[in-house]
Subunit: 483 residues, 4 copies
């Protein structure tokens, strides 16, 4: 509907009321104009009705929703199910063209506008969250790991002599697999212990690089967001080494965007050293369903190379989810979520303290990890004679989702790499522990429920040496250790 | 979004694609303009996406969806549940003001426009369906019977001496109750038999009127749509009598709008005699959920009196349903539905013929009823020794919904009126029968399934004299006779 | 889906995960069981997903959604538009049968269950809100005023000699119209002034009743929720008089359910005197769209008489909205809303105080009205030389919705009744004022915005004697006085 | 809701109606049971209400929708926007685990069941469509081209010596890019001309393989679905050569599933030779939005290798779309779509014949291509002096989407490969032409509109030698040639 149509409506309602409605409509249209011209988060988030209007208007610019169309190609965006059509607002053509995920499509003008606008809003959100040096971000409707693989594939044609990736150990399967999927060998750099914290062994890294032929490395991969007691990698120092040795540097920033401290590290690394791309998840940072990843950086060239590597059109659903969410959040809403998370990170630890004291356990001292923390399980194991994983299972059966119990003594072969102390990111971590996170969107009720149930479980385990047999019966083992 | 915003979007997509999308958008806007200026059914129906855009745009003109509003009244259209909000497109203020159901509301400019536009579309639909003399239609979000009550209440202040309504017998409870609810006595005019048909006894009517004081009658109520073997009333002749005696005439046209023949009768009655209002159901004629009724007529004065009688604001939901449906139908779609119904009415009888022949039953000859027909159950009863209602139950248990079995010998007291042969609209109807309808939206599969299942049931009943006991166990008795 | 189907799913997912999901599913099913057996508000509200599951399950019990159905009746719940179908969850048959709004329908088993369950939840909500003596509540999908009309129509056959209603003055058009619609004369009882408050003139009432033939009165209508400076009627004393004189007593409790104090009055009136029915609005008390009213009372007989008077089936949409909202609220959520409203009622007045002081105005002292209050406009008028209604318009143009400016000197003829000082509920109210409300769902932002904008408007008016001309240009006049 | 809950509902509705509703509910539950146990397409498709019930029930098994959950991990499926939540039915966890796209997730039991059930239904659909030898299909929420890349990456570790892919020329950019993205050189095999058809040059292929070291080839890629005048590759013969030389064979079956003939070819190739994987698009074959691809084959091992290569969790949205669509289609619906497409393929050509005759053009004889066909533009070009691409633009401006005009003389460098006659799949194709398709879901109205508009355009072009200048102004150039 256009503004002039309201004129026609004057005959259908009291003209005085139409005048006021027109003014209100202009306020809404002014917000759309601001969005399309400034391309930044709106100061305040939009209500659902306004968001839907905008998305439906954009979707109406796609050819499959045109009136009076004759469709005689092989791909015309026909949708059989009305239920499916409705949930996608009628957008059927996905994003990208054969050539390029960021390219606009002749049959999907509306979706093309939506995707680029979303990229601009996401860039602004990264700035708001502290990654101020970011200049470009690619929207990829694939997993974070797959996005990492795509980055490595983009490097392949640039670095023909490379056959390996230098990987700073982080015990998550996808982190190894994304390298193997790209066809590279994995060169593991082990971490070191610093008090309770597992940190990057910078000396070993420097030695390794000095002793190698840099052209053999496709990239160094470091990580910001990780499970305590591992700390974020020292990405500034790593970036400086990569600059010195001329090796591409990819940062796995999976759920790091939600932390202003992590973004600060990444931002400094970009400014002071070499960072080719920073890869992060949509769902873990922006409270949308699993499905998309961002590849951000200070140099548009590499980001564009990654975008233009994806062969074909891709689902636009993850981008639409992000777009809607950023519109509903606005700048204030997003900042608010970031601040709340930080507050609850503190509150969570504070509320756990008495429970830990009661059961003789303690918070591991991991001051560098702003999202995740860990609690010891030493006495519980000694007294309860129970495996940490059994505690994970007991919590899971009590609808606590997320805690990961680590013994630290397991050896595992992952993607052809043998890792000692798997799960702990290091061999011989001194104590068994339970890992927890205060991630974006965590509620007070999550914290309260968890503290209560943990108290219950620890009490039960310590209350009887034979509890382990009983607890096994409580429920299935799940999230039983490192992913 | 307004047209000029697409200009801003040129930077976000290939401008050539934006140009084509703009043209397509203009086509859609042109349809909206056509709607708002001509206020008639569009030639072709709109797709769901376009309809939603229009409804959402209108809903955005209601104050409770304005951005930056301060609400300090006692009725501000706040909606607690997002699920509820979404299903009403955010429209919260209903329709009407204290004064008048058709009045526009200061807080609901969008809903007000929607309601008036819908009234215009409905008027056009009535014209399309053959009620060409109609000049005004009120949209009432109440049951057809309640709308009849409202018409009678509107007559009360005009006819202070009246204490009764002359009611041409039709055996449906709501038809009696709507008179009693309005506070009137019921003066029953019995029908007469004409072959298989039950028809208006015009001589008796004329005699009754001649013998009475017309001012004692608030109105005569006649009916078009009814269950065969009753035929539509002779509304033209009745209208002429009402004109002659100066008695208001209300036509119960409940599900008659779907039949061009019924509309033709009504149209002629309006032209040639006195008809104060024609009352019909939204759901039975326009395939929307139960909830609304129309009051139509050639004289706006009485229609407006009815509209302005309703004390308060009412749910706009039934009108929104009708609006959406009329937009999606368009003129062609609605005409098509009417034609299809007529074809299936013929086909239904044709497909039943061999089943009836096989079981020794026949189609009752009711040539004046264009929607409903009836089949005899004489042999089935004689041979099966079973009540017709048991046959209704057997069909119901086989998921046949709608057939009504009538014995014709029951006497019932309804709203203080004793009716002999209740269900048959007449005392002593000669045969028991099963009543069926081919109503708007009936599908071929309904007809096929029903013929097959009827064959089965008749076969089963006649196969055993003791079937009745067995069949009783098949399922509950439902729709067991006249409503 | 039934529980045993999850067994089949074990082959499709890790059985351990299915076990946990089964347990979680049982928790949800247990809530449904609790609802269906206890029929009271759940302690905590349900999430939207769970509510949708329940509503969809119930809707699936309606015949028009059965698989393999043959529909051969005249009313089969067919829905043309998928958009319409989806917004009603497929429920097409409305509520009630010819006989009775509360009767269950053979074709709409699911909707019938939903309606009765909703009535039980609403009854519990009334208890929670303080109307503890309530024993039965009818759900009517009509306006509050229309519900009042229906109550009066139900009384008609009980009180054949009655031709009038004793109406305790409240200046809202619908309150007069609902009496006229039912065909009764209006016998006005004027209020009296008590300090700033307009209150029931009990002596005058007693005199009037003593001097009349009680059988001439169909009912006395009193009101709880009203615009300050009118106070709620003294319903306990009125109920006692009605008991003494044997006159039915209907309480207009339109938006009074949201106030525990108002409910307390009503509850006491029922206990200590005669109250035939208490009529209230769904939308004003439960934050649902306009469309439904409740008729509550301690004696089921009269409530059932009202339910069974409505001739026909009615839209179930308002009941579905209420059902969803009550499920999402739960007992805690509803209590919380009530408490918050009370807090904001205090806060609103506190935040206004400095604005009023600055402009030489004051809060009228109306301690008995727990929802609405009023501020004087004396100095503003004297200094600004402006009509109060112009102030209403200026606020409306600034997106303040709800304030009603009253001069108190207007004489108006409404439904044949001449009312002096129309809008003020009394002749000669001493000061012009602006009426405000803190209704359920009011937000802090509403209060802040309003105080700021009022300050602006009062400043502007007093700043210039000629402001009135200018302000007239600001926007249309709306909500300009009494409704 | 479980069956036993209906028992509780007996008190809330007429028990007889509950009994019938129960029976109807059992019918629905029986269909769910059939789905979960047989895991094949249902004979008839389900209605939208039933599909939504099933999806919502499954979604309710995901941990983020559990009641009473404590979430303390870093990835908990929190969704900020209710609009986003609703469109995904609350499913937030995507599909797959770190290890494997087909693995079930502890936090997403419902989504895991849905994915596996969908894979089973898709397998059945492939059987129905003629690919009877298929034994396993992977669901990948990525583009067809990206799925091809993933297949090549899965081959990398199996064939360490390989550095190239033998590519049978098909002029679509994504077909080249998917090879380069995987890091391989492209070894082009040119096609040959056979009458009007462009066909596989089997002799050249055999020679090439005989002359090479097979271990250098990662794979041969052939294609079934392609734009006429190119014919589907001779996949049976190619599969036999691949078997002989021990080279993996990947078939690009992008939009071939919709053609029973194409499926027949693929099926025979699998049976008679070597086919490692058949890659196809969800959106082009099943009328869902862009977003997913299937990788099918007779040997589960390779398919599973591809599934387990994807590093991370992926969007489940494309699978949900496919699931819903397959449920709504059922076996009959899907077969019907396939048959209708074939009929319309014939009808399209028949309706074009007179238009072509009128303008001196002809249908190219391409009997082997069952989806796409082409019409000559020879006279139009000669007489009109206009480029074929201008004709494409003129049609596009008239809302004909899909036709691709090919001159056949362009040379283009794509992904480092120089292709003569780009767009025509061969150098020196003798005539310029316009390519058209009758793809699944094509409607009669598409055909009629296109024939009318083509007639118009050809008439206009031939009417004036200078038309080209004018037509250029008609609209942007789009879909101007080969993709």
């Amino acid at each position: 509907m256009d503004a002039d149509l309201l004129e026609k409506a004057r005959a259908l309602a009291d003209p005085a009321y139409v005048t006021v409605a027109e003014a209100a409509r202009r306020s809404r249209t002014a917000l759309f104009r601001q969005l399309l011209t400034q391309r930044r988060l709106l100061p305040q988030g939009l209500d659902e009705h306004t968001v839907r209007l905008l998305v439906d208007e954009l979707a109406g610019l796609d050819a499959n929703q045109f009136i009076d169309q004759a469709n005689v190609g092989e791909r015309e965006g026909r949708i059989y199910s009305e239920l499916v059509r409705a949930r996608h607002f009628g957008m059927a053509h996905g994003m990208g063209r054969a050539g390029d995920l960021a390219a606009s499509q002749p049959k999907a003008c509306g979706a093309s506008i939506l995707v680029r606008l979303c990229a601009a809003l996401l860039l602004d959100a990264l700035h708001v969250a502290g990654f101020r040096s970011c200049r470009r971000v690619a929207l990829l409707p694939i997993a974070t790991g797959m996005a990492m693989t795509l980055c490595l594939l983009a490097l392949r044609w640039q670095r023909p002599a490379a056959d390996r990736v230098l990987w700073i150990r982080i015990d998550q399967k996808a982190c190894l697999k994304c390298i193997r999927a790209a066809g590279y060998q994995i060169d593991v750099l082990e971490n070191k212990l610093d008090g309770d914290q597992v940190v990057t062994d910078m000396e070993a890294l420097e030695k390794r690089l000095a002793a190698s032929d840099p052209s053999r490395y496709a990239a160094v991969i470091s990580t910001t967001s990780c499970f305590a007691p591992r700390a974020p990698d020292r990405v500034v120092a790593i970036a400086q080494l990569c600059a010195r040795y001329g090796i591409p540097h990819l940062i796995n920033h999976a759920y790091g965007v939600q932390s202003r401290r992590c973004n600060g590290l990444v931002c400094a690394a970009c400014r002071l050293g070499r960072v080719d791309a920073v890869i992060f998840s949509f769902d873990k940072n922006f409270m949308v369903p699993v499905g998309g990843a961002g590849v951000a950086g200070t140099s548009p060239t590499f980001i564009e190379a990654v975008e233009s590597l994806y062969p074909g059109r891709a689902s636009v659903a993850p981008v639409v989810d992000l777009f809607i969410t950023l519109l509903q959040l606005g700048r204030d809403g997003f900042s608010g979520l970031l601040r709340e998370r930080e507050r609850r990170f503190q509150r969570f630890q504070a509320q756990l303290a008495p429970v830990l004291a009661k059961h003789g356990e303690r918070l591991l001292h991991t001051p560098d990890n702003p999202i995740s923390f860990a609690i010891s399980l030493e006495h519980t194991m000694l007294e309860g004679g129970i495996e940490p994983t059994a505690i994970g299972s007991m919590l899971y059966a009590r609808r606590c989702s997320g805690p990961r119990a680590v013994l630290g003594t397991e050896r595992r072969l992952v993607q052809g790499v043998l890792l000692a102390g798997y799960g702990a990111h290091i061999a011989d971590y001194p104590v068994p522990y339970l890992n927890l996170a205060a991630a974006i969107g965590i509620r007070d009720i999550d914290i309260e429920r968890f503290c209560r149930r943990l108290d219950e479980v620890l009490g039960q385990v310590r209350g009887t040496r034979h509890a382990s047999a009983a607890s096994a019966a409580l429920g299935p083992r799940a999230d039983p250790g490192p992913p």
